[in-house]
């Protein structure tokens, strides 16, 4: 699955999702439960704002010294007998991984959850050389067997499906015969997956945090699937975005704690695994061969720009979980595997404005995202920066808007023009006013009055009232 989801133009996607009552109920329920749970674990930890500042500082420091830490990481991976590959593009990453699969004559590949492998569209590349690729994260597994339904949430990819829908998918694709009870469904998936772990030639994982000082990688899951993916197959390939790195174990511990609290409202997830290189002599399990693929794919061109803070992201989805726009339109409306506020900032940077020009506007700038972000990415400010680029550099703003903003500049920069313009407002609107309100507005007001009344301009402006009052006339 590439970063872009091919599901039509923005308003078609939004329209379909606004009509999807089940999805909207599921998202709202997740957000409301998550809100309470997250506040609970934040309060329990205490000093949340100080933790956020520390986490931000760690991420900023790492990004400012990214070349140093990436070098340190790759040296330490090599020292432990692992192989490191720096991939400038998605193609380079996919080629490298495909070569390994060919070399190992791999038939079956198990994967744990990884957004970056979705971003680079790895699975079809491996399938094209005859490999069977199996997602082992339960959510990803469900989507994969449902004809590659795209993820709608970066942490809970199958959030948009309910248990009955999942049961139907299992029946259709796996010959499942039991009920929609989540325990039975999960048991069935587990039985299927266990066989795959045991017979897979290669295990592919993502990476929550690589640790530069030791050349280790950290995997955070609630299902333990990443542990099996890394323990059983002979070859392990870990794919990471080039920014997903911390200097030492100390910083990893801070960020994991922020991640699990922010993502799922848990103090810790069930499994937090740190792995270093291939298996040593005497180790009971682990791969014989370990490859770390470090993916740039557009990230280095974000470094050093005003958008650099977006690289602080630890993919916790706290912003998604509080976003009121995501709440109503769901993940698929964004047309990218990265949805919600982080998706609205990141997708145009990685995928360009042609495909994602609406996303920076799909926000009321309520700043719930910025407030929730555990590493203090100023998400709503970055959305404004995107809008600025769309207006100034891309020239993609509508002509009527440009004209309105020109008028705004003239009117607000000159007090006399402002006074003159506002004086005319009641007269200009008079023919649209009925009972002190406008029900069907002209021009830009039309969109407003599709669903709302617009107030009629006051006959007497506040400033007129104030001036009269100062003069001693007519206080009301």
């Amino acid at each position: 699955m590439p970063m872009k989801i091919e599901n039509g133009p923005f308003w078609k996607r939004v329209g379909e999702n606004l009509d999807n009552d089940f999805m909207r109920g599921a998202v709202a329920g997740m957000q409301d439960r998550g809100y309470v749970r997250r506040l609970g674990v934040i309060e329990e930890l205490g000093h949340w704002e100080e933790w956020r500042s520390l986490a931000e500082q760690i991420r900023k420091h790492t990004l400012e010294n990214l070349d140093y830490y990436l070098m340190q990481l790759s040296e330490n991976v090599a020292k432990r007998g692992g192989h490191v590959f720096f991939a400038r593009t998605a193609e380079e990453a996919n080629d490298y991984i495909r070569r390994i699969a060919l070399e190992k004559q791999a038939k079956k590949i198990v994967k744990s959850k990884s957004m970056v492998t979705e971003e680079i569209n790895l699975n079809p590349v491996l399938e094209s050389i005859g490999c069977q690729v199996i997602e082992t994260d339960l959510g990803e597994y469900i989507l994969q067997i449902d004809d590659h339904d795209p993820p709608s949430h970066i942490v809970g990819p199958a959030l948009h499906k309910n248990k009955e829908q999942i049961r139907d998918v299992f029946r259709r694709k796996l010959g499942y015969t039991k009920s929609s009870d989540p325990v039975e469904l999960a048991r069935h998936a587990r039985e299927m997956l266990r066989r795959d772990y045991l017979t897979a030639d290669i295990g592919i994982t993502g990476c929550n945090f690589a640790i530069a000082e030791s050349g280790s990688i950290t995997l955070v899951t609630n299902e333990g699937n990443a542990d099996l993916v890394t323990a059983l197959p002979k070859t392990q390939i870990t794919v990471m975005g080039m920014e997903r790195i911390v200097p030492t174990f100390e910083e990893m511990e801070v960020l994991v704690s922020m991640l699990t609290r922010s993502a799922v409202g848990q103090k810790l997830t069930s499994y937090i695994t740190v792995l270093t290189g291939p298996r040593d002599e005497g180790d009971a399990d682990g791969p014989e061969e370990f490859h770390l693929v470090i993916v740039d794919n557009g990230r280095s061109s974000i470094l050093g720009t005003e958008f650099q803070p977006v690289l602080q992201c630890i993919r916790c989805a706290a912003c998604v979980n509080v976003c009121p726009v995501y709440r109503h339109i769901g993940g698929h409306s964004y047309g990218s595997i990265y949805s919600g506020p982080i998706g609205a900032v990141l997708s145009p940077l990685l995928g360009g404005y042609d495909d994602y020009k609406e996303l920076p506007y799909a926000s009321s700038l309520c700043a719930a995202c910025t407030e929730a972000c555990p590493v203090k990415i100023p998400l709503h400010e970055l959305l404004i920066k995107h809008r600025q680029i769309i207006v100034e550099r891309e020239g993609k703003a509508p002509a009527a808007e440009k004209l309105a903003m020109k008028a705004f500049r003239l009117g607000t920069a000159s007090p006399s023009l402002y006074r003159f313009g506002t004086k005319l407002a009641p007269g200009a609107f008079a023919s649209f006013v009925k009972d002190g309100r406008i029900t069907k507005g002209p021009g830009p007001l039309k969109a407003w009055t599709e669903s709302r009344e617009f107030p009629a301009p006051s006959k007497e402006r506040f400033r007129d009232w104030f001036r009269d009052r100062q003069k001693g006339g007519n206080p009301s």
Partner: protein, 239 residues
């Protein structure tokens, strides 16, 4: 104490009663209220739409208009938050940076000014009925004013204040968002109104006319019997 009122364009043009109430309230509390006539708009509609150059012209006009003010008080959390952003926007601008810093330092949202500067919580208001308060996003998240409105409203005689479920959620206004993304905005405001109805409030009170125009406009369209009031009108009420 001399207070310079930044009344905001929405109040100047549409919600004049909220402006009048602000003046009367401040005067009753002993302030001398001044209205610098050269004020226009804080620049937010252009700034948030990505028209930074256009916005900056409005911002410069605001800095000129309020150059002599001791305190700038705005009956809007969002517009006050925009003024507080000027230092960030004019950072490194040799001509305007200092002026932006000075403007931001003396800017207050109305309830913030009452509670933090005038140190008043009971303004002697009375209004009878059941009310709920909409915490607007920019006021709470960007300006950081969270408690002041509640402290003031708790002292209003006759007013039964009930918490609004999911209060932290945006009403769907978002300036140009409300028209650019109309169908999404509509869903957001409908959810807000469901919550207001859930607590059976007679009054919906807010401190930002943008949000109130949005919620009130939808309430009007749906014909719901909920009265929308700016907090200045509530605090100035004596009935």
């Amino acid at each position: 104490m001399k207070v310079s009122l930044f009344v905001t364009c929405l109040i100047d043009l549409f919600y004049t009663n909220a402006g009048k109430a602000t003046v009367e309230l401040l005067e009753r509390l002993g302030c001398e209220v001044d209205f610098p006539e050269a004020q226009t708009c804080c620049g937010q509609p252009a700034y948030n739409s990505g028209y930074v150059k256009e916005a900056k012209e409005a911002m410069k006009q605001m800095m000129r208009a309020f150059a002599d003010a001791d305190y700038i008080v705005a009956p809007s959390g969002s517009c006050a938050a925009m003024l507080k952003e000027y230092p960030h926007i004019f950072q490194g601008d040799p001509e305007w940076e200092d002026k932006a810093n000075r403007l931001a330092a003396k800017t207050y949202e109305l309830t913030q000014f009452l509670v933090d500067v005038l140190k008043v919580e009971d303004v002697g208001a009375s209004l009878h009925g059941r009310a709920t308060y909409h915490t607007s996003c920019h006021m709470t998240r960007l300006l950081g004013v969270k408690d002041a409105p509640f402290r003031l409203l708790e002292h209003v005689k006759g007013l039964e204040l009930v918490p609004l479920p999911n209060a932290h959620q945006c009403c769907g206004f978002g300036g140009t968002f409300s028209v650019k993304m109309g169908p999404i905005s509509e869903q957001m405001v409908d959810e807000k109104i469901e919550h207001i109805e859930e607590v059976e409030a007679d009054y919906l009170i807010g401190a930002d006319c943008g949000c109130l125009m949005n919620i009130g406009g939808r309430i009007g369209r749906l014909g719901k019997p909920i009265r929308v009031m700016h907090i200045a009108e509530v605090l100035n009420a004596r009935n």
